[in-house]
Amino acid sequence: MRAPRPLLAYGNGRSYGDVCLNDQGTLLQTRQLDRFISFDPRSGLLRCESGVTLSEILQLIVPQGWFLPSTPGTRYVTLGGALANDIHGKNHHAAGCFGHHVTAFELIRSTGEKLLCKPDLNSKMFKATVGGLGLTGLISWVEIQLLPVQNPWMWVESQRFSNLEQFWLLNKEAERNWPYTVAWIDCLASGDSRGRGILFAGKHAANQTQLPAYQEGSRKVPFDPPLSLINGLSLRSFNALYYRQPVKPQGSLCHYEPYFYPLDKIQHWNRIYGHKGFYQYQCVLPPAVAQDATAELLDAIAKSGQGSFLAVLKTFGERASIGMLSFARPGATLALDFPNRGAQTLHLFNQLDAIVSAAGGALYPAKDARMPASLFQSGYPDWERFAGFIDPEFSSHFWQRVTK
């Protein structure tokens, strides 16, 4: 029996949109490819099968003094997914994307051919597959260079800023001194306090004898509430309160789990949006226009009255991404969650698209469920060249949607 085509790898299903979906075809579930292949605790070189999650990797490496060189906001993604989406983290300005730390991987094509890819071996296929949304074939294993750390703790400073202009100044300063920076924005604030928020700067804690005890806790949202718990009232109150949280400009220790993965503590957190769910909107805006375009986006969102309690603003570093379809590029990236209110929400996205498009920006495929083909194609000018590297038997719902 031949499985229906096209094929597409499906890891742990943590992408927000349809990059990991494949309506008419067959999904190759990779979670059972969950074996470690080799780990050298002296050099920090780790090779594992592509279905291993970042969480499983952290469990192994952190006690031995190593950390992921780049990590997204959840540790429940697979290694193959991290590679295929060329994910980025709060340290992009200092360390680049995930793909920059990949030393090798194996790609299985639908012909059965196994391609060993390294930055200098099958390098074109390497560049196509990093950030290639799983379309070039099945990634069977990945080798990465880890980052040495002294302990599982982070040293974190937080600082409040009262508007967007202050953010840019503060952020520039923080990027110079800290490997990790990210800001939370109150996207409902307008006028003089438009873009107010809190900047979190962090670094791995230095070697020290006294470390606090850390108790891992986990809560879950047990069921879908009948209506989204995220509405105008709850958002406005949350944002106002969150903005007024006590900041710690003098710094404090924070365990890496709550620092990098605050939402992982709440299983099924997405259920707070009710059964209609949510959209995420994450864009990148080129440096020259980033400040103006960010302000325009925030104005449009504030005006719409729809907003997100997880609005995150960060600037990417200068380091060019490896992948032909990599999202990260110099400029600022704004990420927002919106409860799905149907036409109203999609209408807002059209307005935001116009701003991103005029700025010459792009949206993040890993988090997208609705971008128009034109915006994808203008944001990823290499897409036609990339198409030449797609495995003839592979495709995805996303790819069909954005190349129409």
């Binding site: 059972q32 074996r35 470690f36 292949i37 080799s38 594992c48």
Partner: protein
């Protein structure tokens, strides 16, 4: 509590066994893995070595366990490699195609060899070794299918039933010697062995859940363990249906 520091696993390439090995290694155990598929076994041993600390022994050998003549040598190799045994887990087996067995008696007997006789041969040898050392735990993965014969899989069920009954006798014999004999009866588990089946519905469990239950049962020296536990109730009901009704049911 039984010490689980040195464990040999027969059928180590089965998904349940592999997850059990991982969790044992996580607890600091040394593990010796025996499985048929040499490539898969090598992959699993490499994985366990990455997960293990420097002082833990991870080793293994590929062998076809249906060949009972090899059993004494395999047990000796495992015992030497680990410097003695605290426990053993027998996990090898296959899921026969019932219809094919009905059409081919040789296939039926072959399935009996794989799922019952080879296990009983290993158990007989291990029982003597463990009885002599006066401690340890012997665990076997049997099945809820062995609790009652049903038309849909009675070849598999009869083989597992034989193992379950043999284990009862062994438990009775080895308890005075201080050896625990643990029969594991998993229900439906999402593994490659059940790849062809529809796995929707609340009865299906993940192999890592079953592995956790196996280690707990081995450490505590339990007798017959259903995994997950709700299968005890389901099987109790199935066992208590009178035969004159049961024989007309489509199960």
């Amino acid at each position: 509590m039984n010490s689980l520091n040195r464990i040999v696993i027969f059928g180590a390439t089965s998904s349940i066994a592999e997850h059990t090995a991982r969790q044992l290694v996580q607890r600091g155990a040394s593990v010796y893995c025996i499985g048929r598929n040499a490539d898969k076994l090598a992959t699993i041993i490499a994985d366990l070595k990455v997960r293990a600390g420097a002082e833990q022994i991870i080793d293994g050998i590929s062998a076809d366990l249906t060949d009972s003549a090899q059993h004494p040598a395999l047990i000796a190799q495992a015992t030497t490699a680990l410097n003695g045994l605290d426990g053993v887990l027998i996990a090898h087996g296959s899921l026969p195609d019932q219809k094919a067995c009905e059409a081919d008696t040789n296939l039926t007997l072959q399935e009996m060899q794989t799922n019952a006789l080879s296990v009983i041969n290993l158990l007989s040898l291990l029982a003597n070794q463990f009885e002599a050392q006066g401690k340890g735990v012997i665990a076997v993965i049997s099945s809820v299918a062995g609790d009652r014969g049903r038309q849909s899989n009675y070849v598999y069920g009869a083989a597992k039933g034989m193992v379950t009954l043999f284990m009862q006798g062994l438990r009775n014999r080895l308890t005075p010697a201080g050896v625990d004999v643990v029969t594991i009866k998993p229900g439906f588990v999402d593994t490659p062995m059940t790849a062809g089946l529809d796995k929707s519905g609340p009865l299906w469990a993940k192999p890592e859940q079953i592995a956790k239950g196996i280690i707990n049962a081995m450490a505590k020296g339990k007798n017959e363990v259903y995994l997950p536990g709700f299968w005890r109730l389901i099987m109790s009901i199935i066992r208590h249906i009178p035969e004159f009704i049961f024989k007309r049911m489509s199960l």
